[in-house]
């Protein structure tokens, strides 16, 4: 339990540094440190599948953020209304803490989850699907319909990004030879 709290405090400090620091590259690296801490938390909580996915997605996001934000002058928004902003933030945090304190009391205790459906998966998963990785047997056999929906979401997201970021219709006519067809 101790290392879990240590990692959580580390991640909170990293997130605060990522917000507050002025240098853009340091901020991106602080975000990467938060992601690494989250990956180790997943590993400690015995979810290696999620840990691997979190780590590789974090690396990809870090590369995209560094390539996209470095060497660009992004404007800093510093408004003078710090009193109103702080008041609204504190109000939101207080209401969020109150609602989550009310809601989280009904959940089962940490480390003792409800095992109504999951115990059936753990008991019969190997016999019914033949897969020794229970996570794979859940996401690709028992709940494959959800995975189909998730794949559709990813497909739509890729199509949307390529449609928004394409170069067709954006270029001036004289430099058309750089990228003739776009994506």
């Amino acid at each position: 339990m101790f290392e879990l709290y240590f990692l959580l405090i580390f991640m909170i400090i990293g997130a605060v540094i990522a917000i507050e620091i002025k240098d853009l590259l340091s901020s991106v690296i602080a975000v990467g440190a938060v992601g690494l801490g989250l990956s180790i938390v997943f590993l400690i909580l015995k979810a290696p599948d999620v840990a691997i996915t979190q780590l590789v997605v974090e690396i990809l996001c870090l590369i995209i953020l560094i390539r996209a934000t470095l060497k660009k002058d992004l404007p800093f928004s510093t408004t003078g209304r710090w009193f109103l902003n702080t008041l609204i933030t504190v109000l939101f945090i207080a209401s969020f803490l109150f609602v989550s304190w009310k809601a989280l009391r009904d959940l089962p205790e940490f480390g003792n989850p409800l095992m109504r459906v999951a115990s059936a998966y753990l008991r019969d998963g190997l016999l019914q699907t033949g897969s020794t990785n229970i996570v794979a047997s859940v996401i690709l056999d028992y709940r494959a319909y959800d995975t189909l929906g998730e794949a559709t979401v990813l497909f739509t997201a890729v199509i949307g990004v390529l449609a928004v970021a394409r170069l067709i219709g954006r270029k001036k006519p004289e430099d058309k030879d750089v990228e003739e067809d776009g994506f």
């Binding site: 995209i64 996209a68 033949g130 990785n133 970021a165 394409r166 994506f183």
Partner: protein
């Protein structure tokens, strides 16, 4: 980067040498993660992201031309669409035995590479989709700049 000539794009010689040594290992690790997704932790999503990362590694070190020659844009969109079609056709083939997403191939022996019926095939389909899709997003977001640069 704008002032360099065409054939010395990318990073320095040190980075290029290290990349030449490691990029194949990264690609192999991605293929291992996705093909053993039903035996050990990992799976199609993580394997696909690692495969996309190997091509992104190549593009960061050697520049845009080399990486896009290895994996052209047409091939990327072909793989992306192919993953979706394989996933959906495997799901539809389940109707031969009764219902959508039926595990109609024989289960085999546990802990073997060829086991668990349709799960490895679905892993391969997801990894094709994720790898090609994320590589295409990276190319679109980073290299085809949203706002054209003014210095070159």
């Amino acid at each position: 980067m704008g002032s360099k000539s065409k054939n010395e794009q990318g990073m320095t010689l040190i980075v290029k040498t290290i990349t030449r040594l490691t990029v194949g290992l990264i690609l192999l690790y991605g293929i291992y993660i996705l093909s053993h997704g039903h035996v050990s932790p990992g799976g199609g999503f993580a394997g696909g992201v690692i495969i996309a990362l190997s091509f992104i590694h190549l593009m960061l070190a050697y520049g845009k031309e080399v990486a896009l020659k290895r994996l052209p844009k047409g091939v990327t969109s072909f793989f992306e669409s192919m993953g979706a079609i394989i996933f959906l056709s495997i799901a539809l083939l389940g109707f031969t035995g009764g219902y959508f997403f039926l595990n109609f191939i024989s289960k085999g022996e546990p802990f073997r590479l060829f086991s668990a019926g349709i799960i490895p095939i679905l892993n391969i389909a997801i990894s094709l989709k994720v790898g090609a899709g994320l590589f295409a997003i990276f190319v679109a977001l980073v290299l085809l700049k949203l706002f054209p640069p003014e210095d070159d």
